[in-house]
């Protein structure tokens, strides 16, 4: 553990509280009116794909294109995940296949 016990508990509590708050929001905010503000609906449908795109970039943010291995393991593995998923559309297979390939690449090929 890199954080203290208290810091770790606090992180879990913050995530739990905000997640529950979001799930409970319609029951508290919209249960009387029954209508959602259009701007909330709009953000709700546009944010998810943008956030996932952002998260992919964040996951790969420490990859350096200029230093060896120039992000090649990441590029190959992401491509493998995408091809597997477009081909079989099996979430588990795609994640497992890409991860095993990546582990092999960083442990044995690009050491």
């Amino acid at each position: 553990m890199m954080l203290t016990f208290g810091e770790s508990v606090l992180i879990i509590l913050v995530i739990a509280a905000i997640t529950f708050g979001l799930r409970a929001a319609p029951f508290i905010l919209f249960s009387r009116t029954g209508t959602t503000p259009p701007v909330i609906t709009y953000l709700g449908k546009t944010l998810p794909p943008a956030v996932i795109g952002m998260l992919i970039v964040i996951c790969l943010r420490d990859v350096s294109v200029f230093d060896a291995p120039h992000g090649i393991p990441e590029l190959l593995s992401v491509a493998a995940v995408a091809i597997l998923h477009l081909w079989r559309r099996n979430t588990l297979l795609s994640i497992l296949g890409g991860t095993v390939l990546y582990m092999v690449l960083v442990q044995f090929v690009f050491v």
């Binding site: 553990m1 890199m2 954080l3 770790s8 606090l10 992180i11 879990i12 509590l13 913050v14 995530i15 739990a16 905000i18 997640t19 529950f20 979001l22 799930r23 409970a24 929001a25 319609p26 029951f27 919209f30 249960s31 029954g34 701007v39 709009y42 953000l43 449908k45 546009t46 944010l47 998810p48 794909p49 943008a50 956030v51 996932i52 795109g53 952002m54 992919i56 970039v57 964040i58 996951c59 420490d62 990441e74 992401v78 995940v81 995408a82 998923h85 477009l86 559309r89 099996n90 979430t91 588990l92 795609s94 994640i95 890409g98 991860t99 990546y102 582990m103 690449l105 960083v106 442990q107």
Partner: protein, 258 residues
């Protein structure tokens, strides 16, 4: 209650397969970050959000402020705001159990509750509660199993955290197919890459989120014109999740026969 349980269990089998295996992956990663099965148990019990818990593993390596964690949680789980809308009436009259149902509205539980009704003779409210309870049980159990397995594994786990990247790539592809406009997905990547190049890897999260939300609000007219009706989209999302678990279920059955 036993009757409702019997009616609910078969309905939850696709989620059992999905949650148990993804739960194992989460338990493994969390164990690798230095948090044993007790931590996994309590996090899966109190947070109970699949993708979010995966992302949260990186918080425990340090370097994030509580404020950053709060904002990320808010944005990543923002979609959950809409799940409750379908159940404002259906959860009425459930007493304290209503708040457990609200707490347990994950992507998978939401799509199950949307698509299934209690069979004749079974109590509808108990049926809903059983589905929600079973699903969380799978998630917690998978996590604990993964965590215990992770503490026993002795091989080199270097690179295993790529599972998180892989999961986002998978979700990205699913959403790409489900959405009528690819502007939000491309903007998410483009803005984050731009911030990364300008501000560097340590300052990327909050500026990216702010820029994404701001630009979406500013370009609302243009983007909205290219998107289909929101209710259709949310329904499509739920169906995509269900299609996924159904395919997995079928493939598991196929493997079983062999």
């Amino acid at each position: 209650m036993r009757q409702a349980f019997r009616a609910a269990f078969p309905v939850t089998i696709p989620v059992l397969l999905g949650y148990f295996s993804i739960g194992i992956a989460f338990g493994l990663l969390f164990e690798k970050a230095g948090y044993n099965f007790i931590w996994t148990f309590f996090m899966s019990l109190t947070v109970y959000a699949g993708a979010m818990q995966f992302i949260a593993v990186s918080f425990f390596y340090g370097g994030y402020s509580l404020f950053q964690i709060a904002v990320m949680t808010l944005v990543i789980n923002f979609r959950h705001i809409f799940y409750g809308l379908s159940f404002l009436d259906r959860f009425k009259g459930m007493g304290w159990k209503k708040w457990y149902m609200v707490f347990a509205l994950t992507d998978e539980t939401y799509s199950l509750l949307c698509s299934r009704k209690a069979p004749d003779g079974a109590d509808e409210k108990k049926f809903l509660l059983c589905i929600a309870l079973l699903n969380q049980a799978y998630w917690v159990l998978g996590g604990v199993v993964g965590s215990l397995a992770g503490s026993l594994i002795t091989f080199n786990t270097k690179g295993m955290d790529f599972a998180m990247t892989a999961m986002f790539v998978v979700i990205f592809i699913d959403q790409w197919k489900a959405y009528s406009s690819h502007i939000p997905a491309l903007a998410g990547i483009g803005i984050t890459v731009a911030v990364l190049l300008i501000a560097g890897p340590d300052q990327v999260v909050i500026p990216s989120i702010i820029l994404i939300v701001l630009s979406f609000l500013l370009a609302r007219k243009q983007i909205e014109a290219k998107m289909t009706d929101s209710s259709e989209l949310l329904k499509e999302d739920a169906e995509t999740v269900m299609d996924d678990v159904k395919t997995e279920e079928k493939e598991k059955e196929g493997e079983g026969r062999k």
